[in-house]
């Protein structure tokens, strides 16, 4: 057996071959596609092996390559936490690569497949390196590789001006985030004199509390921008839909989790003795992100944009777990902190699985109907039965319905929030109440949203010509979706086993070392100091299967003589047409109206008359229903206005007059001289 380190290096080599090879074969679309995706799949498979060896056979490794620069070293480290994230990234990348082999076909002769393969492989390699880099400068380099590769994937369909716009927004936002990250690393360097994570960790005692707080704020904004927490998320709902669907699956399922990885790495591993308010800030931001994320998702009608908003919601749920962890460590309740961290990690894994599944389902539908607008779908369950079934499983998982995996991690998150409500600190208690409340509403609203998506997309009659001629997708799409669906169920049913493995990851972190005695999680039965809760996921699955089967058999036996006649749907005597069906807008309108304080729906009506003078016979009526983005209105446009205003003032300095410039230089020189003398 190869060691974990060898596996990891092989993975990187494969990805490099994949990216260069697909560029080399760019003249021939099909070879380039197969080359790029095969090597991406092989690389991910080796990444998976490396992570599995580290996680299950304790094969931890670290190594560094020499560099010619003085403070930069290419050092890698794969501990349990890195291995967990390498596992998630490789798992999803493996399946998206299989999916990509079939999916990319519909880009043939339209776009450059070679560059897609190049950036796709570079993107996966970038993510693998981000979670294993052990030096801040090296980290920034690979972070940039990941960001730039994903930027080029976002603008891949470059003939659509909207995609270029989305790409630019992503580019700007993510680099503002990177600026904050660089500042945070520089502050750490100033206090500890090193960019090496290991050294920073060992000399973390030198960092003053104030510096730590500033680092927290900077890192929270910087990595939070990548994770897509509200209000730094504006790039996410436009960038994720723009990319090809298998890339969207990677971006939404995995890339935004690198932000979560760095949260855990910095706040729970590198910096010790974190104050309580960090956790509380995270809980509150998580509550806002989850609730607003699902509300915006409800008002979205672009299927991929909707899924992107759900990523924001799920990042919020992960933050609830992570915030509880931080709060518990600050309160000295380390065993509860472990439970909460397991919840956060578990949801990270689960969200990656079901979100990738949903994006693949969406991609399958888009490739057949050529639109992302769900109002133009309908009736696809009969034309694409497999896609519909897999999408249904993903929808159930994301709506936290048992026995799928989403329920297991949300249950654990709920339990840690409940435990937090009983902690003995007033401010913490009420933050936990708010967090639990937002999670409770989020679950219900997510279910409503997925009834909307699934119902409008797959059920009833087709609403457009394209949708009525759709056909089932190719085998590579079906296989990858099937595997993800099975994983959704397996991670749900075997939640106890998964949670036990994750407790090993949690206990390996510096802050939580050797504190996992009081909390036991086995078979998802949780016993902590004074809380007891348990649930058996296999029990739920078996119970549902047995009872539903028995019910079907008994009912069919009782009514065996009765006939089933097929007829048309009753619609008050009229012939049912697609126009009678509920639309996505109509479905979510009541929830949008109820939350009008937040969503601020607008309505524009326009009527065109046959005769403009006698306004009795309208020819066409258009009603335009929209929701306002409050974060744009109250957060980004004031900032935008401020910058413009300041720039106007600054412009006055830059008059274009050379004499004035000479004067400036003279003044600066004098100031420098004076300051030099005074010193």
């Amino acid at each position: 057996m190869l060691t974990s380190q060898t596996n990891f290096i092989i993975a990187l080599i494969f990805l490099a071959i994949g990216s260069i090879g697909s560029l080399a074969f760019r003249k021939k679309d099909s070879i380039s596609n197969i080359w790029g995706n095969t090597f991406a799949a092989a690389g991910s498979a080796f990444g998976l092996l490396a992570a599995a060896r580290t996680l299950f056979l304790n094969d931890i490794f670290s190594f560094s390559l020499p560099s010619t620069f003085p403070i930069l070293s290419f050092s890698f480290k794969m501990d349990y936490l890195s291995a967990f994230f390498v596992f998630v990234i490789s798992l999803i990348a493996l399946l998206t690569s299989v999916y990509g082999m079939g999916y990319v076909k519909h880009y043939y002769r339209k776009y450059d497949i070679g560059s897609l393969g190049f950036f796709y492989n570079a993107f996966i390699a970038g993510m693998l390196l981000v979670v294993t880099a052990n030096n801040a400068l090296f980290f920034l380099i690979v972070w940039e590789i990941m960001t730039l590769a994903s930027y080029f994937l976002v603008i891949f369909e470059r003939n659509e001006p909207k995609n270029i716009e989305a790409g630019s927004l992503y580019f700007i936002m993510t680099h503002i985030g990177t600026a904050f990250i660089i500042l945070a690393f520089l502050l750490l360097y100033k206090s500890t004199g090193s960019f090496d994570f290991e050294v920073i960790k060992n000399s973390a005692g030198l960092i003053s509390p104030l510096t730590k707080d500033i680092v927290f704020v900077l890192a929270f904004i910087g990595f939070g921008t990548k994770a897509g927490i509200i209000p730094f998320h504006i790039w996410l709902p436009s960038a994720h839909p723009a990319a090809p669907s298998h890339v969207s699956a990677l971006m939404s399922g995995v890339m935004i989790k690198t932000g979560i990885y760095m949260f855990i790495r910095i706040f729970l591993d590198i910096l010790p003795n974190t104050p309580l308010w960090w956790g509380i800030i995270m809980l509150l931001v998580g509550s806002i992100s989850s609730l607003l994320g699902v509300l915006y998702a409800l008002s979205a009608h672009d299927i991929k944009k909707l899924l992107a908003y759900h990523s924001i919601e799920n990042i919020g749920i992960i933050l609830l777990g992570l915030g509880s962890t931080l709060a518990f460590t600050a309160l000295g309740l380390n065993s509860l902190a472990i439970v909460a961290l397991i919840a956060a990690l578990f949801h990270t894994l689960n969200h990656a699985v079901f979100k990738a599944l949903l994006f693949m389902g969406a991609g399958s539908v888009i490739s057949k109907t050529h639109t992302r607008n769900i109002e133009e779908y309908g009736g696809l369950i009969k034309l694409m039965p497999y896609t519909a079934f897999f999408f249904l499983i993903g929808s159930m998982a994301i709506s936290a319905l048992p026995p799928f995996n989403g329920f297991a991690s949300e249950w654990l998150t709920f339990q840690s929030l409940f435990a937090g409500i009983q902690s003995s600190n007033m401010i913490a208690e009420w933050s936990f109440v708010i967090a639990a409340g937002s999670l409770a509403f989020t679950g219900g609203l997510a279910a409503a949203c997925f009834v909307k998506v699934f119902g409008v997309t797959f059920l009833a009659r087709s609403r457009s010509e394209e949708a009525s001629h759709a056909s089932e997708s190719s085998i590579s799409l079906k296989v990858s979706m099937a595997i993800l669906s099975i994983l959704t169920l397996v991670f749900g049913v075997l939640a106890g086993t998964v949670a036990t493995s994750l407790s090993k990851v949690s206990e390996s972190l510096n802050t939580l070392k050797g504190s996992g005695v009081a909390a036991t999680i086995q078979n998802l039965s949780m016993t902590t100091q004074n809380v007891f809760a348990s649930v058996s996921m296999p029990g739920i699955l078996l119970g549902l299967l047995i009872i539903i089967t028995v019910t079907v058999l008994i009912v069919n036996f009782i009514s065996r003589k009765q006939k089933e006649i097929t007829g048309i749907t009753w619609d008050c005597g009229t012939k049912p047409s697609p126009r009678a069906e509920i639309t996505a807008t109509g479905f979510s309108r009541s929830i949008v109206t109820i939350f009008r304080g937040i969503l601020q729906p607008t309505k524009q009506t326009d009527i065109e008359y046959h005769d403009a003078n006698s306004r009795y016979f309208p020819k066409t009526r258009t009603v335009n229903l929209e929701t306002t983005d409050i974060y744009k209105k109250y957060f980004y446009s004031p900032i935008h206005k401020l910058i413009i205003k300041v720039s106007q003032y600054v412009k006055k300095v830059q008059s274009g007059n050379v004499n004035a410039y000479v004067l400036y230089i003279f003044i600066v020189l004098i100031i420098l001289l004076i300051s030099g003398v005074i010193k």
């Binding site: 809760a533 509920i582 929830i591």
Partner: protein, 309 residues
């Protein structure tokens, strides 16, 4: 041996009793309206009649429409056997968690709403939209009212909650009563009673549950009606046994079990009467006034939690 029989009773109790309580509430309402009303056993006869009818299935419907009734019925059964009914010794660590119960019921609602859209009629779609709106908003109040109890009991296990609350001194019942008010509002919303939904209507402006199942007939309609009755009984049992768990059999003896069943029935009867009285005394609310009521349910439960912590 007693445990075995107790389990049998536990499993069949919900489906056997649920139509009866539908009948009882209808009967009391009829009396309030100065009508004689049908017998309290009429719902059983309705079920038998429906099982004997042929059914028409829309040609636009998919397998979701065909299997939804069984999924809905199955979830209510599995929830029914996880609850404390007449005893607490049938404590199950498998599915006896209150979050499991809430999310299993949501499982059924999810498919119910999908089936409403499936046939592609104008009625089914808006019924689903309304149902999902109300159940999403009711979830906060539902979870938090039970959370109040879970905090008192230090467990989210329903049987454990019933045991702990029954040994609680009377003076500390203030938050329990508050959270019961929150729960009761959520109960009315989830079981489709006034002021949320009119269980007897067939007018498109007012119906929610009925709109979703308009396309059903025959045996599938029977199964849905039965599942709805089960769900109502489940909520009555939760209200009776979590918030007022006195008289529930804590030990494994025939007398205790017998007394447990009798007291359980009496408590259910009291709750049914109060629902019927409430329904007779008030009108259905306009749809967009319902969120206020549901948020009230949530806030009341938050206050109850605030008293405890």
């Amino acid at each position: 041996m007693i445990t075995f029989f107790a389990w049998i009773i536990q499993i069949i109790l919900v489906p056997v009793l649920s139509p009866l309580f539908v009948g009882i509430i209808r009967k009391i309402k009829a009396r309030f309206q100065n009508r004689k009303g049908a017998s309290i056993f009429q719902p059983y006869r309705d079920l038998r009649k429906l099982f004997g009818k042929d059914e028409v299935i829309s040609k636009d419907a998919s397998w979701i429409f065909k299997y939804m009734p069984f999924i809905l019925f199955g979830t209510t059964l599995i929830v029914g056997l996880s609850l404390p009914m007449f005893t607490t010794f049938l404590k199950t660590n498998l599915t006896g968690d209150f979050l499991v119960v809430i999310y299993l019921l949501a499982f059924g609602t999810f498919f119910l709403a999908l089936a409403g859209i499936d046939a592609g009629s104008a009625f089914g779609g808006f019924g689903s939209s309304r149902e999902m709106t109300i159940s999403a908003l009711a979830e906060g109040g539902l979870i938090f009212s039970m959370l109040t109890l879970a905090i008192v009991a230090h467990s989210t296990n329903l049987n454990q909650i019933a045991i702990s609350i029954s040994s609680l001194p009377l003076r500390s019942f203030m938050p329990i009563i508050l959270s019961f008010i929150g729960f009761f509002i959520a109960l009315l919303a989830e079981t489709g009673r006034f002021p949320f939904d009119n269980p007897a209507t067939h007018l498109e402006l007012t119906m929610i549950h009925e709109a979703m199942i308009l396309e059903y007939s025959g045996k599938r309609l029977a199964v849905i009606e039965w599942a709805a009755a089960n769900k109502q009984l489940i909520f009555l049992a939760l209200g009776a046994n979590l918030f007022f768990p006195w008289g529930i059999a804590n030990s494994l003896s025939i007398t205790a079990v017998f007394a447990g069943i009798i007291i359980f029935l009496i408590k259910l009867l009291i709750l049914s009467v109060s629902i019927a009285v409430l329904e007779s005394g008030m009108a259905k609310y306009r749809f967009f006034r319902l969120p206020d009521l549901l948020f009230t349910s949530f806030i009341i439960s938050v206050i109850a939690i605030g008293i405890i912590i």
